[in-house]
Amino acid sequence: MAIIERPTDTPALAGAGAAVTPSSSYGNFRRPVQATGWKSWAFTVDHKKIGIMYGVVAMVFFFVGGIEALLIRAQLAQPNGTILSADKYNQMFTMHATTMVFLFVMPMAAAFANYMMPLQIGARDVAFPRLNALSLWLFVFGGIFINSSWILGGAADGGWFMYAPNSSVPFSPTNGVDFWTLGLLITGVASQVGAINLIVTALNMRAPGMKLMRMPIFTWMALVVQFLLLFSIPVITVALFLLMFQRNFGANFFSVEAGADPLLWQHLFWLFGHPEVYILVLPSFGIISEVLPTFSRKPLFGYPFVVFSGAAIGFVGFGVWAHHMFAAGLGPISVAVFSVATMAIAVPTGVKIINWTLTMWGGKLWFTTAMLFAIGLIVQFTIGGLSGVTHAVAPSDTQQTDTYYIVAHFHYVIFGGAVLGLFAGIYYWWPKVFGKMLSEKIGRWNFWLMIIGMNMTFGPMHILGLQGQPRRMYIWTGDRAGDGFFDLAFWNLVASIGSLVLGIGAFLFLVNVWVSRKNPPAPADPWDARSLEWLTTNPPKEHNFDRIPTVHTLDEFFHRKYEDVGEGDQHDYKQVATGAEVIELEEKYADAHIHLPSPSYWPMVLAISLPIIGYGVIFNTLLIVAGAAIAVLALFGWALEPPTADESEFDPPAPDGDQPSKELAVSV
């Protein structure tokens, strides 16, 4: 936020009259260098503030998506439900998936990647801080844009997979699909920009000695995810553009009467959509690969295996998209190839589970809430992974696909895999980010209610699906529910009750945040942690590290605290310093000159211009022109602005001792 230097005598603004200060001469065109107030958040380029905002907004969308899910389950609790109309129900499940995938899990993972990656590799910020701000605001405005469709004529109603031709205007005449298409294009730009930024950060900005194979595992998984985003987002971008041109400009990419092949959309969508699954779960795999070693007091078992299996999952993930299309009418050869490829991807996934359990084996397990969520992930994800193997078998899949069995499967994968991991991360890093502990007691309740709730909700869906209940149906009928006490009606009701339990469990997280807001400051190293992000204060200073750490081993922080005093093959780890002492040592040798990037208006302005163009495409061409003009202005304003503000942007310290806008020194 500021240039932090030891005091100098240099006057801030050379050649200007005494009365002229930057704040008066630049007026509103001065860079927003404020260190406090809303502007310090809105125009910040600090990866930590951006990470926090990502997380908060994603959490809001988590509860929006959760309410949509509760409405869906309420509708399906009884046969011939009447809570939602068919139209509203279709909008509800479309938006539930869209919100959870694009507006909760992805940005929540981005929040962790943004906040933790620079800290874990010993950097002061990401490679392109302003691009980082752009990603955040594009995501925020894109999310608001999509959800604004609720009050502008109805949300998208074609399912998150938006199969053509059901997404064409005659079959979905409201503007919902347009909002969805344009909104995803906007959030797609956010992901794309973020991916480039984080890849460059991870590859280029590592601290001295931080080899690739010494990078903390979360950073590794986040890096793999960014590569997946980099190569999959353009594919969905093409699909979304085709759909937009189809709906808004009369193109006929999906008009069957013109000879179009509806399977084109499916190929493009799933070529993005399958890597997307790994985009959702890999960050959580990374998180629990940090949490499990910390609370087992042991390094991650088989670190290189976990790294390479993550990379392998990412790579093979691009070659299995057609397993979503086993029933779509591909030839038997394609089906066989994709079936086998899908089984192949189970191997690296299995490797991860094996490594996690072996990490715990022989450890000294400390069951904090974060650890509970991590173990919960292993168990729940194993169930989801194994049910995944049952429909890698293509003939079985033709019975299972588009039934509740699939709904059960991917909720075990995405809720059990991704969401539980994210919660593990939240509980693990909360003291790091906010300097306060969350209540462990409420945390336990939070965990157990969520686990019970999710198994009650999604567990019965296995039975529902295998006994023939298709998904995406706004009602089900007693005629096809079977007989006996445990008929499908019973399991539907259990699932609906389970969703309430799950909802209460998730709500307890908010309670926990509220209750814990006045907790005393957290200790410097509350979990006896292992990786580099703990090598600084809680919360970290604006410049992250007082001096850039030099890295000698994997789990650098742990090895600065503990030394092996054993002889020969006998190992005996003795604590030589507490975390707080290690951090103090760093402060002692603080770097003298720390240049941090400066805040900027332009990311926000550029991010606002895209939804304006979006509204223009839907409602009025003039808005497109206006939005494009703003975008061009912002781009050039950005290009002409140096990343770090000039001295002349800062007011000199006022003689009467008022706070200057530029922080002058770090106390040593």
Binding site: V20, F29, I151, N175, E257, F636
Partner: protein
């Protein structure tokens, strides 16, 4: 900080927002929501502005800021923008009574000069230091000037040159393009390796070139394009009543027509004209022995692939009964056909048939013009 005006505006904005949401949730149709939403946006904007400027009532907040006003500033320099602004207004007025293009030029001129004027005026009062003020001006104006200048520059080249080419004959376009490209490159190398040439000369050359291009573009634009005729297509000829579908001859629509298809799998039927002059067909999956024709669902986009293995260029036609032509009482035959397909080629035909075949005595059929023996029943239930 909340003065009377801002309180009123914030209140009104909250009200408009709530009513927009309420309207959107409860009512069908979006115009009401859009209207109320726009009102809300406008009110929030005004409220924000008011809050920010404190109703333009500094005294309400603090006195001190007045005392820190910048020192006196030097007299402003000469400026071209007031003139440009007035000129823009004049052009706009002329445009209103003459051409829309002139009007748009006037609007752009007005906007640009207005923006430049504002930026200049703002910057000149920023401080007592003219160098600093120039920086302030650049900070405000450059992000607009650079892209606009670049866009105008490239727009002129693209517009003028494309007009010139549309004016030239088809062969001459290639020559013009090659010549102009070569000239540009030759001149570039000339200037690059003749550093003695004063930069003014380069500027003159570029200026003359640009003027020439604009003049050429304007002249070409005024004298109009060369005549470009629409190509004839199968559908066009059918609409004109040309019996393309019953003729084995070649029409313009058949010239160099596409001879292969990428849709080979999962079509409704593949119909092959063999060297024996018979039509055979292949459906997805087996068909019973002794079947005499193809059944296609009614009102359905059916993809039929025609393969020609007869040794001569042939087309596949479908006879689909008769219909009453528009504006008359005459029954005319309904025909659909592919273009002429070379031997060994194939072509896809997407056909939707809305009336069942029982409505036509004798039913529907596929046939190949010029090959008597090639006929195939088509049943549409």
């Amino acid at each position: 900080m909340f003065t009377t005006g801002s309180k009123f505006l914030v209140g009104a904005a909250v009200l408009a927002t709530l009513s927009a949401i309420a309207y959107g949730v409860t009512q069908d149709g979006i115009m009401g929501t859009v209207g109320l939403g726009s009102a809300a946006v406008a009110l929030w904007f005004l409220a924000g502005l008011n809050l920010y400027t404190r109703d333009n009532n500094y005294w309400a907040d603090e006195i001190a800021s007045i005392e820190q006003a910048p020192a006196a500033v030097p007299a402003p320099a000469n400026s071209v923008w007031p003139f440009a602004f007035a000129f823009g207004a004049a052009v706009l007025a002329v445009g209103l009574v003459t051409y829309q293009a002139v009007f748009i030029i006037g609007v752009v001129l007005l906007l640009v000069s207005g923006a430049e004027w504002t930026a200049e005026a703002w910057a000149q009062s920023a401080s007592a230091d003219t160098g600093h003020n120039a920086n302030v001006r650049d900070r405000i104006a450059n992000p607009l000037e650079f892209p606009l200048a670049a866009a105008i520059g490239i727009g002129v080249v693209v517009y003028a040159f494309s007009r010139v080419m549309l004016f030239l004959s088809k062969t001459n376009t290639v020559i013009a393009f090659a010549v102009l490209g070569s000239i540009v490159i030759a001149l570039a190398f000339f200037f690059a390796y003749r550093p003695r040439v004063p930069s003014k000369a380069a500027a003159v050359v570029i200026g003359v070139g640009a003027l020439g291009l604009i003049a050429g573009g304007a002249a070409a634009g005024l004298s109009g394009e060369r005549e470009i005729h629409p190509h004839e297509t199968t559908s066009g000829l059918n609409e004109e009543g040309v019996d393309i579908c019953t003729s084995p001859d070649e029409f313009e629509a058949d010239l160099k027509a596409s001879q292969s298809v990428s849709a080979t799998a999962a079509v409704a039927a593949t119909i092959t004209l063999g060297s024996d002059g018979e039509l055979s067909y292949d459906l997805n999956g087996p068909s019973a022995p002794g079947a005499v024709g193809i059944t296609l669902p009614r009102s359905n986009p059916n993809n039929i692939i025609f393969q020609n293995r007869s040794g001569e260029p042939r087309r596949l036609s479908a006879s689909l009964g008769t219909m009453v032509a528009e504006g008359s009482t005459n029954e005319v035959p309904v025909l659909m056909c592919t273009t002429l397909v070379d031997d060994g080629g194939a072509q896809n035909m997407t056909m939707r048939i809305d009336l069942p075949s029982i409505t036509t005595p004798g039913g529907y059929s596929f046939f190949v013009p010029g090959v008597e023996s090639a006929e195939l029943n088509l049943v549409v239930p």
